[in-house]
């Protein structure tokens, strides 16, 4: 059954007051490698249909991947029945109505959709050849995805988008035990250069060999873009969803309009920015608005889905479910990494973070480890690699002492981030490697 017909079958069959249907179909591939060998190589075909049914203030949902007519009808009947039996949620107002039109977005690349197992293997071989040159061993993954998203509801929402995604990342382990990470993300596989990614990671692995331990404590700190993206995801997760904000669990509570970090920091979410993986609408089919979360250091706004927006008589910003940012962008500055290093008296350069988690949500404090290239800086020069360290640090406190913002942005984990030079970053303990 064609997608349009399938959506109409579901909408027409549902006897609910309001019905929403969301269809995803797609293909993806993932080539994983370790010890410079492809050890997992996968092709996926996927499809799923989700239906949300509403009777007054009673809401239920369900999904299936059986997309023949009987599968669709069975799901619609099941969800409608569940909604009937459901309790009322007095805070629920309505499914969203169409708002700003979803803009045409160019996030589909045919060469990505046509990518073959052989092409992916070629890129990985090129990457591994760079590790071989330094005597290192490469691990990583090459992901390629193509997907179509259709969302319709009985109030007139009718959104469609087709997009592609490609990501190649590696950790290279050097012959002397150093580690180096590099990655590239784009909607176009033509932007992915395995040889270049391998070369970057191999250099880092070489340079981070034979690390020494240093005393944990407070250091000046240069966070490379990979590390900044992890930190920004944590900052947004702990504070910028409307749900957490409304419930009083967000570090942003009581701080909208106030300066929360350095004036050199601006952060926004924009699903249409072509430098990110475009995501023109959310899981309710509502166009993603650009939302300025931090403007020149001041907390400015939070992210809404229709449920949380209706609670405040507002409109959704297009961030269902639960007010999550997917296309976060931090404003660049003017500094180079060399500028940052040169300005550092005694500090630590961190390439990447590992296993970050909330330490204390109301103070935006997080913990985690450094990984894949951590270096000591003294008197404006990188002196030598150091063993990885645990940090426990309030992100807002760290960003309040931002001394430099990098001029180049890097896309990693949904965040387009610069490097940052921070006046203080608190490391609490070290590990053995």
């Amino acid at each position: 059954m064609k997608p349009d017909k399938l959506l109409d079958v579901a909408l027409n069959h549902s006897s609910a007051d309001q019905t929403e249907v969301a269809l995803y179909t797609g293909k993806s591939a993932l080539t994983r490698f370790a010890n410079s060998t492809i050890h997992q190589n996968m092709l996926f075909e996927g499809q799923s249909l989700r239906i949300r049914a509403v009777f007054g203030k009673k809401v239920a949902s369900g999904s299936t991947n059986r997309l023949d007519e009987s599968g669709v009808i069975e799901l619609a009947d099941r969800v409608v029945e569940m909604a009937r039996l459901q309790d009322e949620n007095k805070d629920f107002i309505s499914l969203p109505k169409p708002m700003n039109p979803v803009q045409d977005a160019q996030g589909f690349c045919q060469s990505t959709a046509d990518s073959s197992p052989e092409q992916r293997a070629n890129q990985v071989r090129a990457l591994v050849s760079e590790a071989d040159k330094t005597g290192g061993s490469a691990a990583g993954s090459y992901t390629v995805q193509t997907g179509e998203h259709f969302i319709k509801n009985t109030l007139g929402v009718d959104s469609y988008y087709s997009g592609t995604y490609a990501n190649l990342l590696t950790v290279i382990t050097g012959p002397d035990g150093g580690f180096g990470y590099a990655a590239c993300t784009s909607s176009d596989v033509g932007d992915i250069d395995g040889r270049q990614i391998g070369a970057q990671a191999a250099v880092l692995a070489r340079d981070s060999a034979n690390p020494i331990g240093i005393e944990p404590g407070e250091y000046e700190c240069i966070l490379m873009p990979y590390a900044v993206s992890d930190m920004i995801n944590m900052l947004v997760w702990m504070g910028f969803g409307a749900k957490e904000y409304q419930e009083g669990r967000s570090w942003v509570c009581g701080k909208l309009g106030q300066k929360v970090v350095s004036e050199s920091i601006s952060l926004w979410d924009d699903g249409l920015d072509p430098r990110t993986i475009i995501s023109p609408f959310d899981s309710e089919g509502i166009a993603r608005q650009r939302v300025d979360l931090i403007k020149n250091g001041a907390a400015n706004a939070v992210l809404y889905d229709s449920y949380t927006a209706h609670l405040e008589g507002k409109q959704s910003t297009g961030h269902a479910p639960r007010g999550r940012g997917h296309n976060l962008i931090m404003a660049p500055g003017e500094a180079s990494i060399d500028d940052m290093v040169a300005s550092t008296k005694r500090g630590v350069l961190v390439t990447r973070l590992h296993y970050t988690n909330i330490a204390h949500q109301m103070s935006a404090s997080f913990t985690g480890m450094t990984r894949d290239g951590t270096f000591l800086i003294e008197d404006g020069r990188i002196i030598r690699p150091v063993k990885n360290m645990r940090f426990t640090q309030s992100i807002t406190q760290a960003l309040s002492d931002t001394q430099m913002v990098g001029s180049e942005l890097k896309l990693e984990d949904g965040v387009l981030a610069p490097a940052l030079k921070l006046g203080k970053f608190s490391f609490s303990s070290a590990t053995q490697f």
Binding site: A29, N41, M42, L85, Q86, R125, E247, G248, H354, M362
Partner: protein
Amino acid sequence: MDNCVDAKQFCERVLDTAKRLGASYADVRIVKRDSESISLRTGKVEGLDRSSGYGFGVRVIVDDAWGFACSPDVTMGKGEQIAEDAVRTARASATLKRKSVQLADVEPVTGSFNTTWQTDPFDVALDEKIGALKELDSALRCDEKIKLTDCNMRFWKFEQVFASSEGAYIEQKKIESGAEASATAIEGAEVQRRSIPTGDYATAGYEFVESLQLIDQAEQAAHEAIAMLNAPVCPSGEHTLILDGHMLALQVHESCGHPIELDRVFGMESSFAGTSFLTIDKLGTFQYGSDIVNITADATLPGGLGSFAYDDEGVPSRRTDIVKNGVFSGYLTSRETAGEMGWSSGGAMRADGWNRIPLIRMTNINLLPGDWTFDELIADTDHGIYASSVASWSIDDKRLNFQFGTEIAWEIVDGSIGRVLRNPIYSGMTPEFWGNCDAICDEDEWKIWGTPNCGKGEPGQTAHVGHGVAPTRFRKVRTEGAK
């Protein structure tokens, strides 16, 4: 499986196609999974969802390299195409191969196996389940300082066929159930959440949810959340620490369960989740913990969330010693990793559905009971901290340096539990921490905790695993209070 073509014929067609195209080994899994979740938040049913997924995945070895492909379309024609795709992918893998895949031998099994349950949770009326959660919610909101509550039930039903080119054909059916609830007290900028400490998941039916009797402890949990609003922050320093079962389950999970995965040890997850400090040279000699520390991996335990009859390579479930009298003595293994060592597989390969490859996953990783009653343990502790329920977790990529937060802690003074402490955090290095373990409670305190959210692999896979533990004491642990 009701909506399947003849499963046996389908599997034969897929496997024959793969072999004809050059596969030296192939297996196929057809999986149907149903899930239901009900979420009440502060009196409102915010989530009511029932989902189902169905499809098949084909794994092949061609030219000594792996390939995998999958589809939700379980038809003969698609089966042949997906087998062909898997073979093509494996041939691409073979172009970058530094060593050949060697599978450990396994006796091909034919059979059918179900876990046991009394009441299929999918047959229990929705209003009965919602009613039970509403009652729980009301009990949790016993004080106006409780601003938020969360009450959840989740159920899963799996039906699976596994067939291999070696002749295995195994049908399995499994039901899992669980419930959990928490109260959050908020006063100004102070937010404190407390779970009902018995919330849990198991391989069982709805009877397991009823047996939890969460409502009996709801008011106490709410009052503990309120008590934390004005409690002193957990002190910084080196302290004796007693962990309750829920927190200890995570400690075992992160600091023992993950580092014993042999694929991690071999570097197969090194770019994502990381590797392991428990390298092969340490097997049989490394002092992982004190001599009272005995840890097993045991998929045979009835009711454990990590229990099953056969893993996703057709290997029978088994019990393996992981730490014996403090000495590191075993791994979780697959046919491939065990084959590389010349061992037989430990049967730990599981996939998160039809569209994922099996990976080495924890089964039930258990710290075996000691001989202390809980009261004896507290009475024997002059000064220390008793910490309960998981709040936050982080550990390095070799599983050495960890930092965990618990929801609540109590001071122990002169052998008695005293005042409440808020925002407790403890940290350490894995071998030192387990080396300072000096008392483990007995079988009466021992239970298997279900962990339904263990993440691993790319694309991400979530495994349901178990951890049998009893409250346990550790000396010289660094603690502090989050702020």
